[in-house]
Symmetry: C2
Subunit: 231 residues, 2 copies
DNA sequence: TGACATTGGTGACGAATTGTTACTAATTCG
DNA sequence: CGAATTAGTAACAATTCGTCACCAATGTCA
């Protein structure tokens, strides 16, 4: 009961500078990669996340699509907000507030412009402190949402093999999965349907291609799972 | 490959008006409730979410705590960002961008100021369109995160009975849970410890009081669950 | 006082799910 | 041809989950 004003909400709208900072994620060889752009000479760090201020009236995800398109030449397949930050951590454009957006882009779609490059998530160069935070949060959010939302399918082309899919899950979760269990769970979920194409990848038996085609969902109401807490 | 500028990021920082809109949630009799404030005469809707612009340098959650404190006289126990919105939907203060924040407050803590009132989530009055969206998203986010994070414990006092806890989960999830299963899962998670107090609530056997005291976590790595998709 | 209603708490069993092993299938390489 | 490699599945064991049945401790009321 402290600092309790008599007048409830005499809100004064102030003007702030706002940035949309985009973490473009895509599976590369054996690792998730982030798209960074080379900073202009004189900046404290040599690389930064692609970012811009949203245009007046432009949705934040629309801004993220525009920014990604400018750097990669392709719009991502999926967005996930990662949180807004207004702390004191330094931002390359000195924005007061940043909205971080994770953008998922399938492998092999688009190509970075000259001043942009893919970096494996595990070995990033130095970034401005706020960008570092946003990248970490993007990775955490993606890992956490991966089994509540068809994220992984957005990192693959339209058709893919089940081994491809399992590989993406392993990248996102950072651990190996068991083949038989993975396939059984996928089968039971009616999320994919087989095509009649097969892909031969050099050696080994050819693999059937599947496409993401979620069927009607049967309400899967289970008990509470206390063992999934992450904090 | 369209609209591909030759110069990558010549970001111009623009000034925008920013609001933090707070969805204060608390368990009331048999329902989750939201704290709303009476709008000034002349506004299109009679009620709105408490909101304000963040102070320069103030963190967004800090702003949410300040706003809640002004309306309820108590700071919430937990915050969860619900997303930033910059669409065209109308905001009471005509802010360009809103950051929605869900704030969880235990039952019985603080009391609303004169112009504020609790409304059951299921029967809200008319709100400005953007506020309506934020409330819906807050409810969805809370429901979705309830078994990844100890949300429910933040809606209870320091000590509580297991029936209280189950009741909060039932409010949040909107369905009944089975007593024995709920307790077994809780037992296995080492999240609570018994106190030596008991509470007698009129009729029926007295219940032991517990407190939230998460123990060392054994890595609970299970397979992928495709059946938890919500979209 | 003694049923009985009411709420708290737990053991145990069958059903369902999950982790794992081990196998078969189809292809390339030498 | 046989070894190596990748795809795909059947089947078993271990674990988890949903449920039923029951016991415990209190208040109510005839």
């Amino acid at each position: 009961m402290r600092d309790r004003p008599t007048v409830p909400m005499k809100a004064a709208v102030r003007r702030t500078t706002l940035a949309v900072d985009v973490v473009v994620l895509s599976p590369r060889v054996d690792a998730l990669a982030v798209l960074l752009i080379r900073a202009p000479a004189g900046a404290r760090e040599r690389w930064s996340l692609p970012w811009d201020a949203p245009q007046p009236g432009e949705g934040l995800e629309d801004a993220a699509a525009r920014i990604t398109n400018a750097v990669l030449g392709a719009a991502p397949a999926y967005f996930e907000q990662v949180g807004a930050l207004s702390d004191a951590r330094r931002h390359p454009g000195d924005a007061d507030v940043s909205v971080g957006i994770a953008a998922l882009s399938p492998a092999g779609v688009g190509s970075p412009i000259e001043d942009a490059e893919w970096f494996p998530l595990a070995s990033l160069p130095a970034l401005a402190p706020r960008h570092r935070t946003i990248v970490d949060r993007a990775a955490a959010v993606v890992r956490q949402r991966v089994d509540q939302s068809p994220l992984a399918f957005r990192l693959l082309p339209n058709t893919f093999t089940l081994s491809d899919l399992q590989g993406v899950y392993e990248l996102l979760l950072g651990r190996r999965l068991h083949k038989a269990s993975f396939r059984r769970a996928l089968q039971a979920s009616y999320l994919v349907e087989p095509t009649d194409e097969w892909r031969s990848e050099g050696r080994g038996r050819p693999a059937q291609l599947f496409r993401y085609a979620p069927k009607k969902r049967r309400g899967a109401r289970r008990g509470v799972r206390f063992d999934l807490f992450t904090e």
